[in-house]
Subunit: 251 residues, 2 copies
């Protein structure tokens, strides 16, 4: 058996999330069915992270094993010929036998994009959250800087998240307005709690609206209480961009 | 009754074209149903051009009449609240009583985009035609220059097009590679015959593949025979960008 590392992209709009669930169309489910059909052997796929329903990916990483004699440079095409249009293999390559897409990951990069224009860009509508309000960029950037570092992120994770250890490190957190009215939040961290990016984005948006000053952030973090942070934004604007397998070196 | 000019955008993927057809989901049909529901009076919508099934628009122009007392600056939001996610009003404004979206148009601008990368960009896949072959930009640009001007475009229109007069003027025709592997053909003309942009794109692509020299174009035009031109490319990559109501002034 050969271990493969496969980088994938998907439009999460029509998936019930990454994780396989009976009777639901999920990314893991479609990948496993497709690889099983192609290789004529049951294939299990493991992802670096379990994205929620409606969340997208341009650089999710997975691993699987196969002894199917497809030449290495043919895998991408063979897999893509079997996949639906909203799920794509970007790279398939042999990996070390012990490679594990989730356990070996050092960091993940996410992007959250808001379209604040009165009439949002139709062609990008699946990948941006419509938010027709005026946002101030500079306070959002100041607030983002307070989030970088090692913190207990209890306040920025869904209350139902059942993990004991809620300390995570954000290596990077910034906001930019790349086109007029299009606000993009980029975060890189060693791990993310349940709904953490969407709550973080919802909190920065309240700063951008002037509802909170940027220096509320340290208070929010130290409260360790979900109810003091902003709302959970919808999944539409969230994209898993990249997973790193060597220590973070900066953008 | 007030005459309105309405600029619209649509993702053509799930529409059976612009023109109303019984039992089909069309742009005109959805617009008329929506405006009729909003204003509680039957509304007829006329478009500047009838795009085919699968063809998109970012700047299609329409007109309609209504005496519904919605304040002018509220129309865009009211209409968009009633439209599905893949169809959008970008601008609604009162027009001169005699304004006619099709008859008053001086020019139209179209864009045709090909993604020649081995793994196409997933997020743009609905608006680009996948074409995983190597294209040479410069011969395509040379060929495009031969098309600018006033010509009989019989060779570049579908044989089934039943119009007597096939002379049209192209004010602009150029090809660019804006990102690596992404080829965009832009054309502006006073009118376009049936399938003309898709056949024009299919002919330029044959030049880009090296199957024809750029100076085949004058011969193709003078033949006045559809069979001497290239294939009709699929609708995915075609977008109606803009309609002009004053004489063409250049890009």
């Amino acid at each position: 058996m050969i271990k493969f590392k496969m980088v994938i992209a998907y439009d999460g709009t029509d998936f019930a999330g990454f994780q396989r669930q009976p009777g639901q169309r999920t990314v893991q489910g479609v990948l496993e069915e497709t690889l099983t059909r192609i290789t004529r052997r049951p294939v299990a796929v493991t992802g670096a992270g379990r994205t929620d329903a409606g969340v997208h990916a341009l650089g999710q990483v997975t691993h699987f094993e196969s002894d199917c004699p497809i030449p290495f440079n043919r895998w991408v095409r063979v897999v893509n010929d079997g996949l639906p249009r909203d799920l794509q293999a970007k790279k398939v390559e042999p990996a070390a036998p012990g490679f594990h897409a989730r356990k070996d990951a050092y960091w993940k990069r996410y992007r959250y994009t808001l379209d604040t224009n009165r009439v949002p860009n139709l062609f990008c509508r699946r990948f941006r959250t419509p938010f027709p309000r005026r946002l101030e960029l500079n306070p959002m950037r100041q607030a983002a800087r307070y989030l970088v570092g090692t913190h207990d992120f209890t306040s920025l994770s869904a209350a139902r998240a059942q993990v004991e250890h809620r300390v995570r490190t954000l290596y990077h957190c910034d906001v930019s307005e790349d086109e007029p009215g299009i606000f993009t939040i980029q975060v890189v961290g060693d791990g993310f709690l349940y709904h953490m990016v969407r709550i973080l984005a919802g909190t920065l948006v309240e700063v951008g609206l002037g509802k909170r000053p940027p220096d509320d952030i340290p208070r929010i973090l130290s409260a360790k209480d979900r109810s003091v942070a902003g709302k959970t934004l919808p999944p539409d604007g969230l994209v898993m961009m990249e997973v790193g397998y060597t220590p973070w070196q900066g953008m």
